[in-house]
C-alpha cells in the first residue's frame, strides 16, 4: 500500500513547487575598511534551527522573536564570515527589525564590522542552515562605490571572493557630489530655510511696509551674501562633524534645524533681524551642517578618500542649492512688485513654512520623548 502512496506522489509531484524555497537575503555594504549590512532571514527557518515558538501554539509573535534576538544574532553571525586577506572582519549586530517578504515574515538584522585595512578583495563564507536544509540559498547583494555585485551561496558554493575594483578618485568625487545634490533636493528643511531667507531679498522694508527693490544688483548681492555665508557655515560644521572633531546628538540637531526654519520664516512676518540676514544664515548654517554630516555618515566615509568624499558631497550640496537659487531669483525679481508675490508668496509662504516647520519641531521633539520613555 505504501507503494501506491509513493506512486501517487510520484505522478503528481512535478510542478509541485507551491512555495518559494528557503532563501535569506544578505546585503553587505563596503566603504573603505568599514562593513555594514542587513540580513533578512525567514522566521520559519530560524524557528526550525533554534526554536522561536516558545509557547508551542504554532504562532510566532514579536515577543517571542524579541526574546531570541541574541540567539538569532549569535546563530546567524557564527555562520557568516567576512574576510580580508585571510583575516576576519568581525561583525556584530546593531539593530533588529521585522519585514514581510512575499513568502512570510523575516527577521531583519543589521550589522556592522571593520576590516583590518581597506577592502580590495572581500571573501565571504556563508553556511547558514547548510546542515539543516542543503537546498537553502543565501542571496548576497554586495554594494561598493565601484558598483553592486550579487552572489548566490549554497553548500556547494559556500565561499566566494569578490574583487572590489579600485575606483578612481573622480568617480568617487562624482558619486558623493550626486549624493549631495540628491540630499539637498529631498531635504525639505534645508530648502525651506534657504527660501525663508531669500524671500525678502527682492523686497525692502520701509516704514513697516514691504516694497519691491528698485534694481536687480542689490537683490543679487543680498542673495549672494546669504547663500555664501550659509554655505561657508555648514561647510565648517559638516567637515568638523564628518571628521569626528565635534559630535552632537542627531535628535538635538534635527530639532534645532526645525527651530531655525521656524525662526527664519517668522522673521519675515515679524521682522527682528533686518538687513543682516547673512548673519542669520551663517549662524543657523552651522546647525544645518551637522544635519548634512549625519547623511554623509550614513553613506559611509571611505577611509582612503575622506577628503574627496567630503569635498564632493559639499560641492553636490552647493550645486543643488545653486540650482534652487537660480530658479528662484529671476522669478522673484520679476514678480516682486505684484500683490501675488508680496502677499501670497512672501507673507503666505512664510506663514506656511513656519507652520510646517513647527509641526516638524513637535514631531522631532515627540519622537525624542517616545524613545526616551
Amino acid at each position: 500500500m505504501k507503494t501506491l502512496v509513493a506512486l501517487l506522489l510520484a505522478l503528481a509531484a512535478s510542478g509541485a513547487l507551491a512555495h518559494k524555497p528557503s532563501d535569506s537575503y544578505l546585503a553587505i555594504r563596503v566603504a573603505g575598511a568599514d562593513v555594514t549590512g542587513q540580513w533578512d532571514i525567514a522566521l520559519r527557518d530560524l524557528d526550525f534551527a533554534i526554536g522561536l515558538d516558545d509557547s508551542g501554539d504554532g504562532e510566532i509573535t514579536w515577543g517571542e522573536v524579541k526574546a531570541h534576538r541574541a540567539d538569532i544574532a549569535a546563530y546567524a553571525l557564527a555562520r557568516l564570515k567576512v574576510r580580508l586577506g585571510g583575516t576576519d572582519c568581525p561583525l556584530h549586530s546593531t539593530e533588529f527589525l521585522i519585514d514581510d517578504h512575499s513568502d512570510g515574515a523575516y527577521s531583519i538584522m543589521r550589522f556592522e564590522g571593520r576590516c583590518p585595512a581597506e577592502v580590495e578583495t572581500l571573501e565571504v563564507s556563508y553556511s547558514l542552515f547548510a546542515d539543516l536544509d542543503p537546498q537553502h540559498k543565501g542571496l548576497l547583494r554586495l554594494e561598493h562605490a565601484a558598483g553592486t555585485r550579487t552572489g548566490i551561496f549554497s553548500p556547494e558554493r559556500a565561499t566566494q571572493s569578490f574583487e572590489l575594483a579600485k575606483i578612481s578618485a573622480l568617480t568617487q568625487f562624482l558619486d558623493y557630489s550626486r549624493e549631495g545634490v540628491w540630499h539637498i533636493w529631498i531635504g525639505f528643511d534645508h530648502i525651506l530655510f534657504l527660501l525663508s531667507l531669500l524671500l525678502p531679498a527682492v523686497l525692502t522694508l520701509e516704514g513697516g511696509r514691504w516694497q519691491g527693490v528698485e534694481r536687480f544688483p542689490p537683490a543679487f548681492w543680498e542673495v549672494f551674501k546669504i547663500v555664501t555665508s550659509f554655505t561657508l557655515a555648514h561647510s565648517i560644521t559638516l567637515s568638523l562633524a564628518a571628521l569626528g572633531v565635534i559630535a552632537l546628538p542627531s535628535r538635538l540637531v534635527e530639532s534645532a534645524i526645525a527651530i531655525s526654519v521656524v525662526l527664519a520664516a517668522l522673521n519675515n512676518l515679524y521682522p527682528m533681524v533686518r538687513g543682516r540676514r547673512w548673519i542669520v544664515a551663517f549662524a543657523f548654517g552651522l546647525i544645518h551642517g551637522f544635519g548634512f554630516a549625519s547623511v554623509l555618515k550614513d553613506l559611509g566615509l571611505p577611509q582612503g578618500a575622506l577628503l574627496i568624499a567630503l569635498v564632493g558631497f559639499n560641492v553636490g550640496v552647493e550645486g543643488g542649492q545653486l540650482a534652487i537659487v537660480s530658479a528662484f531669483l529671476p522669478l522673484a525679481y520679476a514678480l516682486r512688485a505684484t500683490w501675488f508675490y508680496r502677499r501670497l508668496v512672501f507673507a503666505g509662504g512664510s506663514l506656511a513654512i513656519s507652520v510646517i516647520a513647527s509641526i516638524w519641531l513637535v514631531e522631532r521633539a515627540l519622537n525624542m520623548k517616545l524613545i526616551t520613555s
Binding site: 507503494t3 501506491l4 502512496v5 509513493a6 506512486l7 510520484a10 505522478l11 503528481a12 509531484a13 512535478s14 510542478g15 509541485a16 513547487l17 507551491a18 512555495h19 518559494k20 524555497p21 528557503s22 532563501d23 522566521l43 520559519r44 527557518d45 524557528d47 526550525f48 515558538d53 504554532g58 504562532e59 510566532i60 509573535t61 514579536w62 515577543g63 527589525l97 521585522i98 519585514d99 514581510d100 517578504h101 512575499s102 513568502d103 512570510g104 515574515a105 546542515d131 539543516l132 536544509d133 542543503p134 537546498q135 540559498k137 542571496l139 548566490i152 525639505f188 513697516g208 511696509r209 514691504w210 512676518l269 512688485a337 508680496r342 501670497l344 507673507a347 503666505g348 506656511a352 510646517i356
Partner: protein
Amino acid sequence: MKVSITAIPTIRTFTIAMATSFLRAAMLALVAVVAQAAPYVPKDDALVLEHLPVRPGDPIGRELRRLRGVIAQDPANLDAALRLAERYFELAGAEGDPRYVGYAQAALTPWWNRPDPPLDARVMRAILKQYSHDFSGAMQDLDAATREDRSNALAWSWRAAIHMVQADYAAARVDCGALAATNSGLGAVGCSTYLDGTTGRAAEAHRTLSGALARSTGISSEMKIWVLTRLAEMSLRQGNARQAEEHFRAALALEVRDQFLLAAYADFLLDQGRPAEVVALLRDWVRSDVLLLRLALAEKAAGTAAAKEHIDALKARFDAAALRGDKLHQQEEARFNLTLLGQKEKALALARENWKLQREPRDARILLEAALAMKDRAAAQGGLEWLETSGHEDPLLRRIGQSLKALKP
C-alpha cells in the same frame, strides 16, 4: 502698492489651506521615502508574525522531533534517517513547501554523496533529486536500485513518473510492466492507465481505472483522491465535462488537503468559464504559489478588485525565485506572464525553456497557447510534434494545435 504685515490675518484662512496642502505634499514625499525602507519594529509583543504549518504539539510534530533526536544521537541510524526523510517528503507534498525536501536531504547527509548507498537510501535520494529536477541524477540512482532489486515497486514507480514527465512513453511502459510484476495492485493499474490516458486511450483507461477503484477495498483517502483526479482528467480528454465534475466533486468530498486536486479542479472551472467558484474555492490558499496563480486568474476573469494585489504578490514571488536562480516553475511563470501580465514574448520564451525539461500535457498546453498568442508556429514545433506522436486526445489542446497549424508558416 504697499502691503502692511498686519494685513496678514485677512488672508489667514487661505494660507492655512495652502499650508495644509503643502504639508500634505511634503508628507506624501516623506511616506514615499519611508515606504521603501519597509522593515519595522512591531509595537506589540503579542503581534503574530508567522504561522507555522506544523505545531510542535501535533502528532506529526512530535514524531519529527523524536526522529530528529534519534539522529542527533546517532547520525548513521539509517532507519530513523529514512523515516524522517519520508515524513518530510510527505509534508512537502501536502504543504507544497520545498523546505521539507531540503530537510529530508539533510537527514540523508551521511549517504548523500556515497557512490554505493544502501538500497533504500538510494531510492530516497533519487526521489529527492527529481524534486529539484535533477532527472538524470535521479534516473542513475533508480537504474542502480532496480538492478539491485527487480521487485522494488517504489523505484519502478518513480522511474515511470520521471519518464512520463519526459514524455518517454516507451520507457514508462517498461516501468509500468515491471511494476505490475511486483504485485502492487492498484499501483500498477494506476501506472498503466495514467500512461494510456495520456497517449490517446482515455476511454479505455477510464474504464479500467474506475473498475479497479470499485474493486479496491480499504484504500486511503489520499489514494482515492489521486485516482479520482486522474479519472476526471480522462473524462475531460473524452470531452465529458459533466463526468469530470462528478469525479472532482467526489474527490473534494473526501476533505483532505490536496493542492494537486485543488489546482486541477480550479483549472477545470476556469476552462468552463466559472471563475467565481474558483475565487470561493481558493480564497484561503494565497500562501501556495500554484493556487494563488489560479486564484488571480479567476479574480481577473471575474473582475474582482483583489486581482491586482494577488498579481503583484505573484510577481514578487517570481522575482524572488529569479534572484535565487531557480528554473523550477517556468511553466507557472509562463502562464502568469501570458494570462495575467500579457507579456506574450516572455511567456513563450519561458514555455520553450520549460518544454526542454518537462513534457506533460500542461507543459504542452502553455507552449501552444504562448506560441499561438505570438502567432509563432515554429516556436510550438516541439509541442505540435508531441500532440501528433502521443495521440493525446484533449479537445482543447487539439483545437489550439489546429489554430497553430492554420497559421502561415
